[in-house]
Every structure is written in C-alpha cells, then in structure tokens.
C-alpha cells in the first residue's frame, strides 16, 4: 500500500464525522461529435455515516457524477473541478495508478445496471474477491473466508456454495447483493450506489434498502442515486436534485421534499403516483380540451361497447410450462377475471407470479391448457381462423418494451398504420393515424422519424397510438411505465387515464408498482404464484388487504418518510 492510500485511510479521527468527499464546481463534458455538458458546477460533501441522495430525471447527469467520483467518467470526458478532495487527497492531480489505489479501497461503486455489472463469465465470489486481490487486502489463504464473510454480510444465502454460481444463475436481488458485497469488500468509507433498486421487485427492493441503511448506520457514507423519491425520502439525510447536469436544489431531505424551492423539484414530487393522487393529473400537461378529440369516423372499424357490458373475460384459465427435466411450472393457475367496457383493471404481483402469462392468454397469443377466454362473447379457442383475426382487433397490447415491439425498419407512421392494413383506403388510414396521434398527443412531425430516435416517453406514446388505431375494446398494458422515469411515467399514466375516459376503452394494467396501480385503476387483482389471491376495488383492497400476501406486498412498498404531496 502506498502513501496515498494510507493518507486516506488513516485520516479518520474520532469525534466529529470527517468529510470523506468534498467537491466544488465539478464539471464534466463529453467532447466528440456532439458536445455534451453532462455535469455543471456540482458541489457535494459527504461525511462518514451520512447518506446523500441525488435525484433527477433520466439523463440529468447522475450516473456521470457517480462515475466521475471514482475517476471513471468515461472515454472522451473532460473533467474539471475547483475542488475535488477524497479524504486528504486532491483527486484532481491523481495519476491513473493512484486512482486505482482509491477505487474499491476508499470508494466503492455499485453501478446502475445490476444485470450487466457482474462479469457473466465469472462466479460471483471471484468478483467479490477481485477487490481484495487488487489491493492485497488479505493473504491468499484467507481470501475464500473473507469473500464468504463479505457475501454473508450483505445477506447472501449460503455463500460457500452459491457464491460459486454465475450471475445468470442468480436472481436479480442476489445479483444486486453480490454487487454491493463486492463494493463493500475492500472496506471503503464511501459507497456510491447508482440506482441500486430499480429493476427490482418491491419486496427485494425493501431488503436492499434495509441493507444499505444498516451500512450507513454502521458508519459507511452512502451516495445514493435514484429517481425514486419515495426511496430517497426513506433513507437519505441530504438530497440533491439535478436537472440537465445542474443541481437545482439541495438540502436536507426534509427541506427538499417538504418545502421544495425549485419549480422542477415540485414537478418531480407531483409526478409521483400514490393512493392520494387518484383522480388527479400527475404531469404538468394540461388536460386535453374536449374539442381536441376528433370526431371518430367509421373506418370500418368496430366501435367500443356500452359501458358496463363484459368485453373480455377469462374463466378458470390454467397454463403450465414444461421445464427441463420433466418438471412443470404452473404459471397461471385457475385464474378468472372479467373486464367490463370502460373498466380499468389492475393486475399486481411479484415477479414471476404469472402476470405476463395471463396477459398473453387474454390476448390470445397463448392458448390456456384449460379454461376459456371470451372476447366480446366469442371464445378464442372455438373461433375460426378468420374470426380470430377479426376479434384480435378488439384486444390490443402495450408492452413494457415499446422499442422491441416496433419493427426496427419502420418509421413512426408505418408503425402506427401497420394494424390498419385491413382498412382499404389510404386516405382513411392516414386520417386514422392522425386521429390517434392527436389522442396520444404526439406531434405529426414525428411521423417520419425512426422510433429508436425517440425518447422513452414518445416511444410509449407511439406504442399506445398504434394499439388504439384499431379502436380496441380493451387495452392490455404489461408494465407500460416501469421502464420510464417518474416524470415521463406521469405523462403516460395521465394519457391512459384520459383515453379511458374519452374513448371508453377498457384497460388491463399490469404492474408490480403498487402505487401506480393504486393511482390509476378501478379494480385490482393480486396474483401470487399463478393464483389470484385477492381482488376487488383498488381502494378497498389496499386499504384493507385480506390476504397475507397482499399485506406483505403493501408493507414492502417504499413508504415515503415525508409527505411528498405537501407542496
């Protein structure tokens, strides 16, 4: 170990919490083709045991900040700062060699993308051991023991055995734990955790947050990056709100969340869906004027049914899959649901509980092993081939991954008009495309664009527009907002609500996010391991959950420590 490290490590004296990281006026630019000024004049201080959170919408520079703090801003990045002190070291003058001594030893980094942040070709224990080897923290003999210890510290079950598994053999939660274990193994005083709980299921998310919180209490400083204000409010001491690379607001968590000064913070807070936001708009978008709705013309397309009649219903559907080794996995186990015209039905449940499979069965993409699904009174199973194609149009689908659902060769116009091939007249088709564009509040300028050039929110709108083109009776949305950040999510949720109101299209809304469901739907179905464990009006189910599983789910959802709607 060299001088540099010792300075950093030894600098901890008793008494007042030492400042581990102090940054003033941090600037990060990316040169090259388009000049990106990713971080502008960021100030940041973290002392031991403290948890500082950075929030902000996608692209605001959070991850760049995190990477810059360990000297890995990326190729082509130009970093400058008025002050950049890691412990006693002036990081502005560090050589690459010196940086290597700091990384993992003084600062641990947990990257945003847990799926890909572990080398898929190495057992996780080697990844955890790597930091120990690099910094020669333990003798070879003790390496295995130390790694097992590090893994069990983060609640990794049975580290001796499961530590030998490869990332693809582990669940998302375990992977995230292993990643955190690796970040902690070198004993850093500061952990930078970039969106450590996104992509995770509520229950697992709660466990990871608990883990981080306990580390913090044990004296490790935490820089938490998240776009989820509920998460932040439950753990952070201080919050920085970033927008377009600039910290627009910072202060203690209470200050920022309860008395936001900046307009942007207010908007961010307002965009968070919850029980209390039911019936309110989340986004800043104004509600569309009534006359903005074009008079729907008959293009030879079916018209939505009267409110109240059952448009889609599944009766005791059952679906199992064959797994290798003659095992069968029951994905959907005797589920019955029915959707009335104009109804908004939510489906919640943990990952793997069969939500998507149910959606596919309702869509007629997958035939149930037993049970039947009726669309507008016609059975999927018994309908003839021609008739099936007809009734398919009554049920449309919006997926979590809009981009993947677009043919990569198609422009927005082609994507939206694809379902309309059956409409003979080109003029009528163009008219219908314009109608749905207006409905989804997309600019006609986008028609010629390729979907992959659009923002996430725009893509999801295009996906919804396409689904609406056939004037379906039911729109089945499988996690339509889970890939979007809060503000965009707010817009999409508002849009779906509007559409439901104005066109009378029923919604089947699948989500693992209880607050979103709570915000949007009328009725909810709770699924566990393929079964419906509870169902009813959403307010009733969430207010008074009957089933233990529902209660567990609700308990695990992050509870804001602050009243986020106060502003």
């Amino acid at each position: 170990m060299t001088q540099t490290i010792r300075e950093v490590v030894v600098a901890q004296d008793q008494g007042r919490p030492e400042v581990l990281l102090s940054v003033r006026g941090l600037d990060v630019r990316f040169g090259g083709r388009r000049d990106v000024h990713a971080v502008r004049g960021l100030d940041l201080d973290i002392s031991a045991g403290q948890c500082v959170a950075i929030v902000g919408e996608s692209g605001s520079g959070k991850s760049v900040t995190a990477r810059t703090l360990v000297g890995l801003a990326g190729p082509g990045a130009v970093v400058s700062a008025k002050r950049f002190q890691i412990g006693d070291v002036d990081a502005r003058r560090l050589s690459e060699r010196a940086w290597r001594k700091i990384r993992g030893r003084s600062i641990g980094l947990v990257l945003q993308d847990a799926q890909n942040s572990l080398d898929p070709l190495r057992p996780v224990r080697r990844e955890v051991g790597e930091v120990l080897i690099r910094h020669q923290l333990v003798p070879r003999r003790q390496l295995a023991r130390t790694v097992d210890q590090a893994l069990s510290d983060v609640g990794f079950p049975d580290p001796q055995v499961r530590g030998g598994q490869y990332p693809h053999q582990l669940s998302g939660g375990l992977r995230q734990r292993a990643l955190i274990a690796a970040a902690l193994a070198g004993g850093p005083k500061l952990i930078v955790a970039d969106e450590p709980t996104t992509a995770l299921d509520v229950t697992i998310q709660a466990q990871i947050l608990e883990l981080l919180r306990s580390k913090c209490e044990a004296g490790t400083a935490l820089l938490l990056i998240s776009h989820d204000l509920a998460v932040v409010s439950s753990i952070a001491d201080r919050v920085l709100v970033m927008k377009d690379g600039v910290v627009v607001e910072s202060g203690t968590t209470t200050q920022v969340l309860e008395d936001p000064q900046h307009d942007y913070t207010t908007r961010l807070l307002r965009a968070i869906p919850s029980a209390s936001t039911r019936g309110h708009r989340l986004s800043a978008d104004a509600a569309p004027e009534a006359e903005a709705t074009p008079v729907a013309r008959d293009h030879g397309l079916p018209v939505a049914r009267d409110r109240g009649s059952v448009v889609l219903c599944a009766q005791a559907v059952h679906k199992s899959f064959e797994l290798p080794g003659h095992r069968r996995l029951v994905a959907v186990d005797g589920v019955s649901v029915s959707v009335k015209a104009g109804q908004k039905l939510g489906v919640v449940g943990e990952s793997g509980s069969g939500k998507s499979t149910l959606a596919r069965i309702l869509l007629g993409l997958q035939a149930p092993d037993t049970g039947a699904v009726q669309v507008l009174g016609t059975d999927w199973g018994t309908a003839g081939r021609e008739h099936r194609h007809e009734i398919r149009r009554a049920v449309q689908f919006v997926s979590q991954d809009p981009l993947g659902s677009f043919d990569p060769r198609y422009t927005v116009e082609e994507v939206i008009s694809e379902p309309l091939r059956s409409v003979s007249s080109a003029q009528l088709r163009a008219e219908r495309v314009r109608e749905v564009l207006a409905l989804t509040r997309l600019s006609p300028d986008l028609l010629a664009a390729l979907p992959r050039k659009l923002s996430g929110g725009q893509r999801q709108r295009v996906s919804i527009a396409r689904a609406l083109a056939l004037r379906p009776s039911v729109l089945i949305c499988d996690e339509p907002v889970s890939a979007l950040d809060v503000s965009i999510q707010a817009q999409i949720l508002d849009l779906l609500d509007d559409l439901n109101h104005r066109t009378g299209t029923s919604l089947v809304f699948i989500s693992h996010d209880l607050s979103v469901v709570h915000h949007l739907v009328d009725d909810v179905v709770v699924m566990e391991a393929g079964r419906v464990v509870e169902s009813g009006p959403v307010t009733q189910v969430f207010a008074d959950p009957q089933h233990a599983y529902t209660r567990r789910l609700i308990a695990a959802a992050p509870k804001p420590a602050h009243d986020l709607r106060a502003a």
């Binding site: 040169g31 090259g32 083709r33 000297g71 801003a73 190729p75 082509g76 990045a77 130009v78 970093v79 400058s80 700062a81 950049f84 502005r92 003058r93 869509l363 007629g364 993409l365 099936r388 194609h389 007809e390 398919r392 149009r393 049920v395 449309q396 689908f397 997926s399 991954d401 981009l403 993947g404 659902s405 677009f406 043919d407 990569p408 060769r409 694809e418 379902p419 091939r421 059956s422 992959r452 056939l470």
Partner: protein, 288 residues
C-alpha cells in the same frame, strides 16, 4: 483544472466541417478500389484497348515500361490488360460463390428457422455434413463431377460457404421469430405468413449485406487458392488467381507478372473487407 483525458479528434479536425470529419479515408479508398474493379469488370474497354489474349512471343517477359505499364508475361501478353480483364472473372467468381452460398444458405436457414422441428433437424444435419467437408475436398469432388472452370469453381465455393450463411440465418430467423414486434403483429390479426413476410424475413436478413461483402472477399481468396491447385478457370483465361498461379514459378525472373495481379486481388479483398466492416458497424449501431 485537470484534464482527465483529451477529447479525441485533435485540434486539427475541429476546424473541418462535420461531414468531412465523418469521412473515413480507408472507407473512401475502399469504395474507390471497388468502383475501379467493378468498372473494369463491366467495361474493361474503358481501361485498356488491347486484347488480354493477344500474345506476342517477341515481346515476352518485358518489365514494366511505358508501352506495358505492368510489363508482359511469358506469352508476351500485356499484364495490365489481363489484370483489367481479369477483374470480371475474379469478381464474378467471388460474387457468384457468395450468391450461391447465400441463396442456398438462406433457403436452408429460413426453412430451418421457420419450419417445423423435423425440418430444422434435417437441415441442421445436412448443413453439418456440408460443413464437415473441407472446402478443398468439396471443390475437388465437385470439379471431378462437373469439370474445371469458373462456373464450377464458383459453385463449389458456394456450396462450401453455405453452412456459414445457413447457420447465421437460421439463428437470426429464430431470434426474430420471437421478437416483440412479430408477436405484436399477431395482435393486429396478421397471419403467420404475413408475419413471416412482413417482419421476420426482412429483419432476419438484415445482416446479409454485411455477410455478403465480407464473404465476397473470402470467396475471392479461396478461389485463388483453388486456382493455384489448378481447379479454377483454365488458361488462357485472364483471371487473377490463375495469373498468380501461372506466374508463381517465374517470380524471380518476372516479378511483375505475379506482383501486380496479387496487388489487385489483395486490394479488392481488402476493400471488400473494409467496406464489410463498415457496414457491420453501421448495422450494429442500428440495433436497439
């Protein structure tokens, strides 16, 4: 202020307009080489007015001079003229082999990719058998069957190259078949066939231009190897591989008869490879 690293491009490039900065000299050069080769193949008369078969024993083995820019060969034929006319043969063999490989490979790959399980099995096995034959053995057998010559050479190389295409296309077809947009098309009421034609095939065959460009260079190289073994076009044809093979024993006395065709061949293959890689990069960048 600490510059952690320097923006790429350098000072110099910064002053040029963006579209010029975007041009890569190797790519331009490659396109130029291919264009010249293609024009020679299509209209050799543009580049030379002599007959590639015109022999003049009295002017044999002359080193490069103004009269014969690339010298003359052992028969007294103008080497440059033969290189120009050779472009047609060589490019056609390369292209022919690639198209045969691609055509057969695509059909097999698509059948395996979309067909029933047994068809997939059958095709996979068939392709394994073809792949298990070394290229030379296949070419030898096919040429033993049907005789020497440019067309048979292209056919043999095509068959030998088929497994690569068949396997890739099978894999991409199977991948695209499960893509979100194909499933989505089902919900609009598109039939199996419509999905196949509208979505699966166009997308699965997306990497083909890349494969063709890179395969083209490879086919030219392979064909020159088989020409070396005497399995290619027969003399007196002007074909680069054959010219190389014919000159290989005179290299020390008449280096120009071998070096110039070799340079032409290598340049075209390099150009095709560079272009192929460029296309590949563009293709990969386009992927979501």
């Amino acid at each position: 202020m600490t510059a952690v690293s320097i923006p790429s491009g350098g000072l110099f490039a910064a002053h040029l307009p963006r579209w010029i900065r975007g041009i890569r000299p190797t790519l331009v050069l490659s396109l130029l080489v291919l264009a010249v080769a293609a024009s020679a193949a299509i209209a050799p008369g543009l580049w030379t007015h002599t007959d590639p078969l015109h022999a003049d024993p009295l002017a044999a083995r002359q080193p490069p001079s103004l009269a014969h820019l690339a010298g003359t060969d052992i028969q007294g034929r103008d080497v440059l003229t033969r290189i120009v006319y050779g472009a047609r043969f060589s490019l056609l063999i390369g292209l022919g082999a690639t198209l045969v490989a691609l055509g057969l490979g695509a059909i097999l790959g698509i059948v395996a990719g979309v067909g029933p399980r047994w068809a997939d099995q059958l095709v996979t096995r068939l392709v394994d058998v073809v792949a298990a034959f070394p290229e030379v053995l296949l070419a030898l057998l096919m040429i033993a069957l049907s005789g020497r010559g440019a067309i048979n050479l292209a056919l043999a190389l095509g068959v030998a190259g088929l497994p690569k295409y068949a396997r890739t296309i099978r894999a991409t077809v199977q991948q695209t078949r499960c893509a979100g947009y194909v499933e989505q098309a089902t919900t609009f009421g598109a039939s199996r066939w419509q999905r196949l034609v509208r979505h699966v095939l166009p997308n699965a065959l997306g990497p083909l231009p890349v494969m063709v460009t890179i395969g083209f260079g490879g086919a030219i190289i392979s064909s020159s190897g088989l020409s070396f073994l005497g399995l290619g076009p027969q003399p007196p044809a002007a074909e680069w591989g054959l010219m190389l093979a014919e000159s290989r024993n005179y290299l020390r006395q008449t280096w120009w008869t071998g070096v110039f065709p070799g340079v032409a061949l290598t340049a075209v293959v390099m150009a095709a490879t560079v272009l192929g890689r460029h296309l590949q990069e563009r293709y990969e960048r386009r992927l979501p």
